[in-house]
Structure formats: C-alpha cells, structure tokens
Amino acid sequence: MTAKEIIKPENLVYTKTKVMTDVPMHYCPGCSHGVIHKLIAEAIEEMGIQEKTIGVAPVGCSVFAYNYLDVDFQEAAHGRAPAVATAIKRLQPDKCVFTYQGDGDLAAIGTAETIHTCNRGENIVIFFINNAIYGMTGGQMAPTTLEGMKTSTCPYGRNTDIYGFPLKISDLLAELDGTCYVTRQSVHKVGNIVKAKKAIKKALQNSMDGKGTSVVEFVSSCNSGWKMSPHKANLWMEENMFAKYPLGDLKDTEKKHYGQ
C-alpha cells in the first residue's frame, strides 16, 4: 500500500486542529509552548467552545499566542493577565476565559495578581508554563529556576543564599480557598500529552461550571534558554525539574479529603 493510497480523509488520525491558525509560530525549534498551544486548541475544538472562549496572553515568549490560537484574545501587561481575565470573566460570565502565562509573568512580577485572582476564586483557567527561565528576554533567572541551574543572570548557577529558592507557586495556589483544581503536567512525551489534554479540558469545564479557579502548570523546557538541544532539554527536565516539581494533581475539589 503506497502512501498515496493511505492519504485519504477517512484514514486521518492526526492533524492540526482548526482552532490553530496557519500562521507559523515564532517559537524556537522544539519549544514546549507549541505543544501546549496545540493541546489547548484541540481541547477548545473538541469542547465546541471556540465562540465563547477568550484567552489572555502574557508578556513572555507566548506573547503572540493570539496569532496561533484562533479565539478572541487580549494581550496583557507583564504579570497582569489574571487581573485582565478577572474583568473579562466578571463582565462576561458566560464566556470561558483563560490566561496563558510563563513563570516570570505568573510567579515573579505577577505574584500578587495570581494569588488574589485565585483567592477570589475567579472562574477562569490559568495555564502556567513553567520552564524555569525567562525565555523571551534571553534566558534570565526565573523564580522557578532550580538550585544550581545556570541562567544569564545567575551565570554561575542559582545560589539560593543569594537569589532565594525555587518557588513552588502552584503549591501555594492549591492552598487558597478560591482554587478548585490545581495540577502539574508535562508535554514531553505522548503519554504526558494525553494526560495534559485531559487536565486542560477539565480546567476549561470548571471555568464554564463556575467552580472557581483552575490552575494547570506545565513543567516545560526552554531549550534556547537552557542552551541544550530540544531532546536533551526534555531529558534534563525529566531528571531535574520533576524532582522539584513533581507531576500530578495538587488539588481537585471533586475528590474528597484531598491532601489532608
């Protein structure tokens, strides 16, 4: 059987979802952002909520998310996406509203907005791309940078005595009464990708159902910032990032007695 014979609409098993535009993405080769974009787009398509979804892009590498995800979008100032999303959702409660934020955006400059949005239990989803670095600006230290990890602003490795500790912000968010679902996922392998998509869908559904704030953290790689090949970056991530940021649900209010 030749390729030609196989390539028929009825045999299609995987292709780009329509909720993604045809604009080529500006990300570096192998960047996790692309995979996460795809998953969010697929979830939106599968849930049939493209018309009622409004995204909020951060300042960070994913600043142009609106060019790739074909839903209405607002581009927020650095760190303020949760505040922007709060207003969008409060003023249009029937919409499905999410933010998409990097670790610098969400866990450094945007700490106050993140915490208070979660504490108010805004019915939005926060997609949190934790690549342990400031990708956009050329690889500076992020709050989530691992101990000993080298970045352009800790070129000799993060020394916790000087720069403080890797911040597990999702753990803090899980403590807040306003969050209903806090989970940590990754997208470096097929199995993880499948799980991550489930988490995304659940989170979006929570927003529609008014259950409170959902936070989906993606432990991600930034091969450019880490100065590794994409594949090496994935391996390094598995070995080092997962130890500090273990995958799995941190909170799910549907499950009783979680984490007690």
């Binding site: 609106y66 209405d72 100032a77 505040a83 003023l91």
Partner: protein, 361 residues
C-alpha cells in the same frame, strides 16, 4: 416638587459613583486611597450589581485595578477606575497599554499633595502626568477637569462618551476639594447598560467571543518598528482630530479683560473669587477655565493674547499648566504664575496680591 427630588446634596466622589451607575457603566475596579475612597464605597453601598448589573470590585492594588479596566474595556464594556496621585502613578504602565490598544475607559484621579506619600490635601501637581504622559510612549488622554460636584457627575458621563467616541482612555483630573466638597447636584438620567448585541455592533473590535467573524485581538505589541510606527501614526491622527473637535473651556468676564487668570478645577473656583475682588478694585480681570486640559484651549488663549496685557496661571502646584499657557501665548505677552503647593489652597486675596505684583504694574 418633581425637580426638587432630583436635586441632591453630595460629595463630588459620591457624584462620580452615582453618575457611573446611571450612565450604564458595566464595571468599576478600584483600590482605596484618600481622598477618593468614597467613589468605591458609594458604589458598594448602592450595590448596582443587584439593579443595573454593574460589577464593582475592590482590586488587590491599583496595578490590578487598571489592568482589570484594560480587560473590561477590551470587551467593549463601559468601565472605570478611580484613585489618587500615588495610586495613579502605579497605573501608568496600564494606562499606556490602554491608550495604545485604543480602549475606551475612564480613569479618575482625585489629586492629593505630592510628591511621594505627601499629604491627602488637595493638589493639582499631577497635571504634567495627565497631559504630557506619565506612562511611556507617545499617547494622550482626554483630560477633563471638573470644578464642581455637578461637573463631577456630568464629566463622568461626558468622559466616557468621549472615550467611546474616539476609542481612547479619558481621565477626570479632580482634586481633594472637588472630591470631598458637597454641593447640590442633579444626577444624569438613568441609561440602561448596553446589551451584548449592542456592544457587538458598537465595538466590533471587542473580545466578545469569535462568533461569525475573525477572532478579535486586543494588543499593543508590534515587534517590527514599522508596524509600531503605523500604530503611532494612527494614534497621532486620532489625537489631531480630538484637538480639532473636543476643546472645552469656560470664560468668566473675559470680553473686556486686560488680564486673564487661567485656572482649572477647584482653582478656578478660587479664580472666580479673584475676578470679583479684582473687578472691585477696578482691575479688568477675566478667568479662562480650561475644561479639557488635553486638548488644551490653545487657540482660545492665542485669541485672547491679542487682546490682553498678560496672563497668570493659578495652580495647586509649582507651575505646570503655565507651560501650556506659555506655549500658546508664544511670547506675545507676559505669562506669570502663582500657586501653592503640597496641599495648601491659595486664597483669593493672596492671589490678587500676586497678580498685582507680577502683572498689573
């Protein structure tokens, strides 16, 4: 008796809150700070979410509040925030974003004495920040300066109308006097909030959900300089139009004036008294009160400059608006300044004395 019922006695800050509810605002986002906390307090007391459906939210900070305004305005909603000087400084990044994304909204600054933490007493020393641009980049706000409680109400409505006319943020630049003072006020009539359908029509650019159209994006970013220059040129064209159409001012006894006092907001109230006192002494003084601080009544000042012997700007600052008066007069007659700082309000008597010393020789 009908009319009587409509007249109310209230603070300027309260008037803003009532006017916002009545003109169909969709949302208010703020953070407490003296001397304007009554704006949010009145809204919370009135709980419009149970009547008109207006959302009122106390944000965690001024930064969060202005970015909530961005989010709400991006949905085509009628939204506002209010604060006072230090809080407005914190909003500067957000204001720059809003201006660049061309979102209509209202920012209220009930100024207090600065710099720094300063005092909570009235000031007008944020004039430069409001009209020249406290945030980064070339942008302008439509800046209205109310000088009475009635205008606090009226200009809330007007500022939002102008914001939507030009898709641009506008600002009410008030001060502790107009905010805290009570006067009679006739509140604007109730206007229902726009429906989602109306918003989709009036604000086709808004993020209301991608239904039967391309997706809408609210952004102020352009990586390419050329693209960003296009954005800037579009903004500048819009600003030129606003300068053309929206200058507003009030004149008191300017017709036969030999000298003109220029003053805005609460200072203009003092200015009126100075005119009375001066005229009593036979000095032909007039008062020009810019209502829009940007666009500034440059042409009117140029016109008056042909007739009078000099101008004096009266401000609660070390002299800021006086620069715009000078730019307008462009050297043809003397332009002087008198002001008090840090929350002190000049009295009519001392102002007249200054006028005589500096100008009427």
């Amino acid at each position: 008796m009908k009319v009587m019922e409509e007249i109310k006695l209230m603070k300027g800050n309260e008037a803003i809150a009532h006017a916002a509810i009545r003109c169909g605002c969709d949302g208010y986002f703020g953070y407490p700070i003296t001397p304007q906390s009554e704006v949010m307090e009145t809204l919370m007391q009135e709980k419009p979410w149970e009547t008109t459906g207006m959302v009122v939210l106390q944000a965690e900070s001024e930064v969060a509040a202005i970015n909530m305004v961005y989010g709400g305005a991006g949905c085509g909603k009628k939204v506002l925030t209010s604060s006072s000087s230090p809080g407005v400084s914190l909003k500067q990044e957000g204001i720059s974003y809003i201006a660049c994304a061309e979102l209509p909204c209202l920012i209220v600054n009930v100024m207090r004495g600065g710099p720094g933490l300063g005092t909570i007493q009235p000031s007008q020393a944020d004039y430069f920040q409001a009209v020249k641009g406290g945030g980064h980049g070339d942008y302008k706000l439509i800046v209205l300066a109310p000088s009475s409680v009635q205008e606090m109400a009226d200009f809330t409505v007007l500022a939002l109308d102008l914001a939507f006319k030009y898709n641009t943020p506008s600002m009410l630049l008030a001060d502790g006097i107009v905010g805290q003072m009570m006067e009679k006020v006739v509140l604007p009539p109730f206007v229902p909030r726009r429906t989602e359908e109306e918003i989709r029509q009036q604000c086709p650019w808004a993020t209301t959900g991608k239904v039967n159209r391309k997706s809408n994006v609210i952004t102020s970013l352009a990586l390419q300089a050329e693209e960003m220059e296009e954005t800037n040129l579009r903004l500048q064209r819009k600003y030129a139009q606003i300068v053309e159409n929206e200058v507003r001012f009030e004149e008191v006894q300017c017709d036969d004036a030999d000298y003109i006092l220029v003053a805005f907001g609460s200072c203009a109230r003092v200015g009126e008294k100075v005119v009375e006192l001066a005229r009593n002494e036979g000095i032909k003084l007039g008062l020009l009160r810019p209502i829009t601080l940007w666009p500034f009544p440059t042409k009117e000042i140029q016109r008056l400059a042909k007739q009078v012997k000099g101008f004096m700007s009266l401000e609660l600052s070390a002299g800021q608006m006086v620069e715009d008066v000078r730019l307008a007069v462009n050297g043809t007659v003397p332009v002087e300044f008198y002001g008090r700082q840090g929350g002190v309000v000049p009295l009519a008597e001392e102002t007249l004395a200054a006028l005589k010393e500096k100008l009427v020789k």
